[in-house]
Symmetry: D2
Subunit: 350 residues, 4 copies
């Protein structure tokens, strides 16, 4: 349950306030020069960006333990760790016996009979830092094949990005603290986040992801459909509540005559769909167009304002969460969506 | 890619116009009396129901080949087949060289270098009949544990079911040809389907599914989250374009203060969330409430009205699909959603 | 537990006296013309050959249910069945409540709480007929790569084949009813088998298998070592008690100086070991030489002579097994060893 | 290929002369107090013991990185590392371009296009230290169920242990540097090892393993047979060339009438085989008796005496291996056999 993928396999480990988070990437071919700058950049993209981000600041320094020889991959498992350096366990002393609403305290305890109180333990999004490192390695495998992955914030609360997918300027994504590539929309999102934060509340949002440069014929049908793999990957991200691709939920109100993408021979002589309402996939297999999908994220369950909930004895308590948290998970989830998508595609292309 | 699940494993096989569709269920414990009536009932629920359903009528007679001894399971693999009896391959003669828009003709050919022209071969929803049989066996394993699964049509085109999830009368689901449990809404859906059919077009919709009777603590976190398993299962169903659970995509506009479910001791002395905005899952693990999820389906790509598309030589053709098809896949997808959900839960409870 | 392999995946089903045995091959590429003659030939090789073979004569007629289109593979799962036509359940009436020594009656009952009395149910070697069909399909994938697999009887009881592996005449294997490729040795084995059969007893033996035409660098290290895959495959065959490759158990008394294969540049300019004491594998990966391994088989547990054992009530009984059985499993196991080896190699080369 | 097991899953990483070896244990239940003394003891058992052992002395200090909270398992992955502290890479400078006979230098390079020259990289038995830690954790899961595992040296070169399996004094195993539990035999083995070492050569041997306290009915048939799992596990250990259980290869010369174990009701009223020639398994499933198996190991390929072999250019070279090596791998393999067996059984019992 902590291993993802088949050919490109990532095993993740670590708790929020344990010694380290980390992972093991297995199945990476030998002879590849690890691009340490890309790993650092990707980790940077996951870091808190603004006053409405968590005040926990982790160095996210990666130590590689195996699988490399003179900077090149050996084909053997690549193990790495990121030590946790900015833990503040005192924040959790008061709430050790309280089930935080919207968190996994209660369900982990029901599942395992025990839970790591500090920082949510394994259920914390701290774990996703390791996913970002593995995702960077996955990108190193797919980029030479011309495949690019771009995720961005397309919604925070009621503020939506209204730029069509095809017109998004990817170069702006990480210029904006919200990871929304349109400056004006990003500013509106920031204003909303400031307001929500002042209210000691949190807010949800959505991430859009575009995978381009894919050949037709990638993936598997039936239970191995690319959309199944992507959906499972995205739903594994903390706080993700929904996944859709192509026209997604809007398909429900559409007619076949408006949704079907007709085929034609393109300029290069390849037969290919003329349009991409399908979102790049038919029968679970790539059709040569971009895969486009969208994920919904719920508001951070940790909020500053008082909540009523019970403790382990069932006594109702007034809860005020003092831990350091993000007002909205979406800006930081963008790089995690990207990492998970990269792993799915690397797994398919190996 | 044709095997689903880990402990309860289902391997599916068969093409739309081949000798048979069928499957192998592995991991079923020994000593269970197969409930043949349930299997027949579930298959009945998947059959065409009205003038806007396909005119292909398959007997769906199940032959069991192994795994049973005097009607009881042996613990060994249960293989079964449903022979295809109502094939009309002539329908496909004219379109053998044409890539049907919205279908997997082109992607299967790109993937395998070959495709079964008749009836869409393996990409046809005919394959889901085998899933329904396996789903019935899964239900036999989870029902004795008090777990029930109910799926129903909650949307067809612009007609939505406006009854709250908790007030749905499950006993009505299969009384209605639309599988929408509210008679008045169902009638509106039928009117819409008649109209769409007259227009030689098709329409999309959505299915809601409720899994009740689950204990808290079922499932696994990180990459084994129940929502990941369910999402992958649902996205593997033909025409499914989106998956959401709990507040789903609506979470994007919500605040933590309105979404969080507070905990309290219930009448029976168990600590449990007071409300169920979470949709039954926190951190990937059941919280003791019902799992509620929703899937979006696109309109059937096969439509009667003329479409422009190209053939294998890239020459544009006028395409009129004469095969027998459903105006909307949703009414028949309901039993498939149920079957896939049953397999996911059986896999978790074994 | 009834599925074998990762990329070339074979799911097996069926009981000895059930409706059929069969299987599903998943992962076979599209566009391959199934060589039906090879399948028939391989099944023929598994059939009883002499008076000391079982008197049960199965037609072993294969019906393909899916995965083919005009005789070519589609890339979708290939399901097939062999109906059981020569069952004699009456043979088992008297022993329904008796635990046959050396059989799996008792362990299956302990595992599943139930067992198929007739013919040993799933534990019968009848199941291996399906493996032979899957093995034939595997051979169709590896032969075009120049890889050949030859298994043969190298020992029955105290009669051993004394021809060096490299001098074995593979063309003689299936000319001899014992599947021992040396005519004189085979005659000695036949004499032994006749004698053992007259004594209403059974006898063990060994099978040697040579896989040739392998490139260096095939396979995976650590837990995916080729010898691990082959050992698991062989130990899954009924009655197999041991596996060794290269110098095998004899390695225990050898010195490094006599076992190590030195490297040199060969005539074609490739660097390769000069000798093959390693048996074709180093560090779990092929070294370019033939893989050579050997499997030991125990005597058939079903014997005609009287045995003392107890029934389900624990009462001691005199047991005389009347079912139709082989005096020695080895001659018929040869084709099964070949089939399993073919699947392992197909899995590695896909 | 670096992950072992299904429910109890161990992912191994690390090269001989890299930063560390280590692993991730996934699937361990929550709430178990890790027995650090057992881990240390098991690691101690794997350490070099005598002049004929390697002169490389690793501290084997385990650092746990995740999965624990106040010394108890959380149910989340348990990651651990053992830093490599006694590397002497200079030993390998001279042989960087030479393919060592009997080693995986050539096959790794053929497989991955690259290899870690120092210490054999991933192919070194240094990797097995991590297996021992995971095996200790596995033992913590199976011991409370009354299951014990004892491996011991039963052969080195021509010196064999002649004590019957049932009379072996397990308490002596780790008292002897050879890990052979009979003092007199052990002394003979030591004398042999001294002589072989003086000859700058190496020698092979065998390990016997007994798993006791197993209930009947554990394991799975067909491709999941316990003997398949054990064989794969043992063949994954460096230098292992053969696996047999029960009467093993000797079965080849036996008759059914002498091998079959008759059933009877035992003193406790359970029906069980009277004898254990089967080696504890029938049809792949435990029969309630001890599982007894034996593994053959080849002589260490690294020997001091001169060998002729070629370099990367194909030029023949005289090779003298200066690295620090064991004269015989068997004494140190004993604890690795035990660890792998423990993981197989833990996987089956979870």
């Amino acid at each position: 349950m902590n291993t993802f993928g088949n050919r490109f396999r990532f095993t993740s480990f670590g708790e929020s306030h344990g010694a380290a988070v980390g992972g093991v990437v297995d199945g990476c071919p030998g002879g590849i020069s690890l691009d340490m700058a890309l790993i650092e950049e990707d980790l940077e993209h996951r870091k808190p960006t603004a006053s409405w981000s968590t005040a926990r600041h982790e160095a996210d320094q990666v130590e590689f333990l195996s699988g490399l020889y003179n900077g090149k991959t050996l084909g053997s498992p690549i193990a790495f760790i990121l030590r946790n350096t900015d833990c503040r366990t005192a924040d959790y002393n008061d709430i050790a016996d309280i089930y935080r609403p919207g968190h996994a305290d209660h369900t982990y305890e029901a599942r395992y009979g025990i839970r790591a109180v500090n920082g949510g333990g394994r259920a914390s999004a701290r774990e996703t830092a390791a996913r970002v490192v593995a995702g960077s390695i996955a990108k190193m495998l797919i980029r030479p094949r011309g495949i690019q992955i771009h995720a961005y914030t397309s919604q925070i609360g009621t503020v939506c990005l209204n730029v069509p997918d095809a017109e998004v300027d990817y170069s702006r994504i990480y210029q904006e603290p919200t990871r929304c590539p349109d400056h004006k929309t990003s500013k509106e999102m920031e204003a909303l986040l400031d307001e929500v934060r002042k209210n000691e509340d949190s807010v949800g949002g959505a991430v859009t992801c575009v995978i381009s440069g894919l050949p037709a014929g990638l993936g598997n049908p039936i239970f191995g459909k690319v959309q199944s793999l992507l959906a499972a990957a995205m739903m594994s991200i903390n706080a993700c509540k929904g996944f859709e691709y192509g026209t997604g939920f809007a398909s429900a109100v559409m007619h076949g005559s408006e949704l079907n993408d007709p085929y034609a021979k393109d300029a290069a002589g390849h037969i290919s769909p003329l349009s991409n309402r399908a979102g790049g996939l038919l029968g679970g297999i790539t059709n040569g167009h971009d895969i486009i999908f969208r994920c919904a994220f719920k508001p951070t369950p940790s909020i500053g304002r008082a909540q009523r909930t019970c403790d382990a004895d069932g006594v109702m308590q007034q809860l005020r969460i003092r831990g350091r948290h993000d007002t909205c998970v979406v800006p930081r989830a963008v790089s995690v969506v990207e990492a998970m998508a990269a792993m799915v595609i690397a797994d398919l292309t190996l």
